[in-house]
Amino acid sequence: MILGIDVGGTHTDAVLVEGCDVRRKAKVSTDASHLLTSLSRAVKAVLEGENPLKLRRVVLSTTLSTNAIVQGKVDKVGIVLPSGPGLSPSHFQLKDPVHFVSGYVNHRGIEMAAIDEDEIAGLASTFHDQGIRHAAVVGKFSTRNPLQELAIKDMIGGRLRHVSLGHRLSGNLNYPRRVATAYLNASVWETYNHFVGQVLDFIREQNISAPIYILKADGGTFKISDSAEYPVQTILSGPAASIMGVLSIVSCHEDAVVIDIGGTTTDIALFARGVPLLEPLGVTIGDYKTLIRGMKTKSVGVGGDSAVSVEDGNLKIGPRREGVAAAFGGPCPTPTDAMIVLGLTSIGDRQKAAEAIDAVAKEMKSPVEETAERIVGQMCGIIASHVGQVIEDVNNRPVYTIHELLEDARLQPRVLYLVGGPAKPLSANLGKLLGCSVFVPEHAEAANAIGAALARTTAEITLLADTERKVLTVPETGTQVKIPAHFKMADVIKAGEDMLRREAVNMGADEEDLELEIVESQEFNMIKQFFTTGKNIRVKIQVKPGLIAVLQ
């Protein structure tokens, strides 16, 4: 048995999955100020009468870090940046003051300026005096050589609770994002670790001895102990949970669109040959662009409860939500009311829905039915045009080789999975607009918790072999090792696969179920004065996001 829990913004869901079946499910409303209470109510509901010792694994997806960041309930962070020249310092504006210090490495990872020990010691005292207990240290190109970040951590770490290092959070290049990511990690570290302590206590009280995993934004899991070091990896795991849930219910192997229609917003995601598409660099949370590996999702400001109004003779839907639909006693007409009028669904009070839509119809000077049709049509039109845009974005992603440019592999989804309250009523309309066959999966209301329960452990590793300098650098593990001058692409891949396999198993992956994928492999000759002096080999390998089981 597997226990999956998703502590979402509105609801907390828990499911108990046994083999290929959902054995039990529970939904309670989330109390944002007491997440643990919500979690324990949902868990107790599905575990009642069950033997907790039969649990094989527990997976939790939580909005804790997301909420803390979005609501600004974060700790003060000492931000230390050995940045070197480049973008103006004015572009690094965070919630806390930023300290630019001496030292930096270049694009090949070669040290261009050394750290000034006195300067760092001075900063350590400043942090101490200001009561700062968490720091983020981020160097430009630190993914190419992490030594300066590590050295600074050694110098300031002693007097702090925790130091977040840029190179550990992602192997991708993007200094401003790396700075933001490390800052966020440091700013939620204390809050998150406090929560982890509570969760572990609660789990123990329930007599659960199974290993506990946390869901990440990329739809993969990692051990709760690892999450304590990298809490920022847990942001935006909610949408990822839902998408993985849909995947587990429908067993998709082709290009597809997933649309989750909620009350206020509609979320769009894509599968390429059955694999969820990730953001190329990292997810965005609030104003922060990060390097957190996460699913590419787009949130559109229309939903079943969006307020419908008339402005200058034109229908307007959303992005405001005034409350529930009129059919449920809400204050204004909504698309849900229009669906009820059209007989697409039989929920709520039909009379109230009709009255609300009638008011709109009068203003539009058109019959009620026609008005309802226009509301539903317009809502579907908005969603469909955003889907079109997301697909176009993906298809327009730049490529950097002639081979890829001429090959021009395009995403062409012909299947649409619809989840959320208004999924069934809108399925025909959306399917037609998008030219897709539509499926409304079963258990969709608990897809998030199911997705969490069944998500595989994921990890990614970035390797840069510079055979001129005879160094192999792996930022995610913070390692730099010597390699011989004759090191080849095959050697780098072999080393990477071994490391990633070890790393993934440490993070809780099942050795039997490890699907490694080479995401990137490039090899360049380095030439000085017409002579080859070495090779620059770049490899990125991932454990493919996926599921440990598929429901039947």
């Binding site: 480049g86 694009h107 991708n172 993007n174 730049p398 002639i402 000759n525």
Partner: protein
């Protein structure tokens, strides 16, 4: 420092799977470290910098700018079509109003490719700026265009293609041809008889630094542009004037390049040469992109930058001042010089020997232009290469007058194929290209 932000389109195509040959400077990793620096500085996250995929240029696009022997397919490969396509995409973004300016950061370069193409010279097969220019003239009807070529090598190809064209002002600032390939581009090379002054060459002495480049910009290039009033300014943005470039001898810096770009404010920049792939290109390109987008670039600097060591000598400063004055005077007297030069002649001719260093081909050309006060003048070219190919071409200029059109069509009709592999008619005005 607050600047006005501009929407900048970036067409970045490093062609990581193509090289002229394994150890050739024009090889796979030429833009590798530039990519690293652009990514690491997070430039693509700025809302006003948008990256686009390059298009692929067509044979029709090439035939608007070149006479390829025997035909466009034979002298190009996919990389050339993508590089030219990238330049076209950049121009499209600006002229369609999607961007204020655009930078085509593409390879291979093109400014040594001349009107007639028998093969590759100076790492170039086809001239990507010229193809772009003819494209925007055809598609958007742009009339007056200025090209400022800041590559360290004289852009002899671009000069050749627009030599007779009064509507394309070609200004090249480069290392003195007596000290560097291709050995041309002197102040008295001033344009064809119908287009005198529409070619400006500014050969700078070796070891010229930021000061010298910016002096020429402020005191010569910008005033000439002000007189010419172009509808479109293009920067052939070669980056081999950099002090670290391995095949040139200049002392320009990333700051200098960025400042030049800010002052010149081109609508479109197209990468040309530049082979200091580790020490210059990453910083120069970041500087140019920031300058184009109107973002503070004052903190961009090469790790080993040392302004004192790079300072140019007083001799160089004096030399440049004198040359700038000479060229400026010539520009002011261009109409008078033209009257004197042309007199009552009906046609003017010149003979050229052209060497294709990359493909080791020699070509002899005889070119004739009809003296015309109403347009660029119809041009005929008789070209023989040691590949055994001899061709004859008639070029009717953009915005041609009736007399030049009639003469051009007449010559094309009457010229027998006979000894020629092909006889071509390139009608730039109507976008027609014929070969027999």
């Amino acid at each position: 420092m607050t600047k006005k932000k501009k929407k900048t389109a970036l067409v970045f195509f490093p062609a990581f799977d193509w090289a002229i040959s394994p150890t050739h400077p024009e090889r796979e990793e030429r833009l590798l470290y530039t990519q690293d620096q652009i990514f690491e500085e997070g430039l693509l996250d700025f809302d006003n910098i948008v990256e686009y995929k390059p298009g692929i240029a067509t044979v029709e696009d090439i035939n608007r700018a070149h006479i390829c022997v025997p035909d466009a397919q034979s002298v190009t490969m996919e990389p050339h079509l993508i590089s030219a396509g990238g330049a076209i995409t950049a121009a499209e973004k600006v002229l369609s109003g999607q961007a204020d300016n655009a930078f085509a950061l593409v390879r291979p370069p093109g400014h040594h490719a001349m009107l007639v193409v028998h093969g590759a010279r100076g790492f170039c097969n086809i001239n990507i700026e010229a193809i772009m220019i003819e494209y925007v003239r055809k598609k958007y009807g742009v009339k007056k265009i200025a090209v400022v070529d800041t590559d360290c090598h004289h852009g002899d190809g671009t000069q050749d293609i627009f030599w007779h064209d009064p509507n394309v002002l070609y200004i090249s600032v480069h290392q003195d041809g007596r000290t560097l390939y291709p050995g041309t581009g002197f102040p008295d090379d001033f344009g064809g008889p119908n287009a005198l002054g529409a070619t400006i060459n500014i050969p700078l002495p070796p070891r010229t630094s930021d000061e010298g480049f910016l002096y020429a910009l402020d005191n010569l290039i910008l005033p000439i542009l002000d007189d010419f009033q172009p509808d479109l300014i293009i920067n052939s943005a070669g980056q081999d004037n950099h002090y670290s470039d391995p095949i040139t001898d200049m002392r320009f810096s990333a700051q200098g390049y960025a400042l030049l770009n800010e002052k010149l404010s081109p609508h479109i920049a197209v990468l040309e040469g530049g082979y200091s792939i580790e020490d210059a290109l990453p910083y120069v390109n970041v500087g140019i992109i920031l300058a184009m987008a109107g973002i503070d670039y004052s903190h961009v600097r090469e790790p080993d930058y040392n302004s004192a060591a790079l300072k140019q000598s007083d001799d160089i400063s004096r030399y440049i001042e004198k040359m700038v004055q000479y060229i400026g005077n010539q520009w002011k007297q261009r109409h008078a010089i033209k009257e004197k030069l042309v007199g009552s002649a009906k046609h003017a001719g010149r003979k050229k020997n052209i060497y294709y260093d990359t493909d080791n081909i020699s070509e002899q050309q005889e070119e004739t232009v009809r003296i015309c006060r109403d347009c660029g003048g119809v041009v005929t070219i008789d070209s023989t290469a040691d590949t055994g190919n001899r061709i004859f071409a008639v070029i009717i200029p953009a915005l041609s007058c009736d007399a030049c059109r009639r003469e051009g069509e007449d010559i094309f009709e009457k010229t027998e194929k006979g000894k020629y592999r092909h006889v071509y008619l390139q009608d730039k005005d109507r976008g027609v290209y014929l070969a027999k």
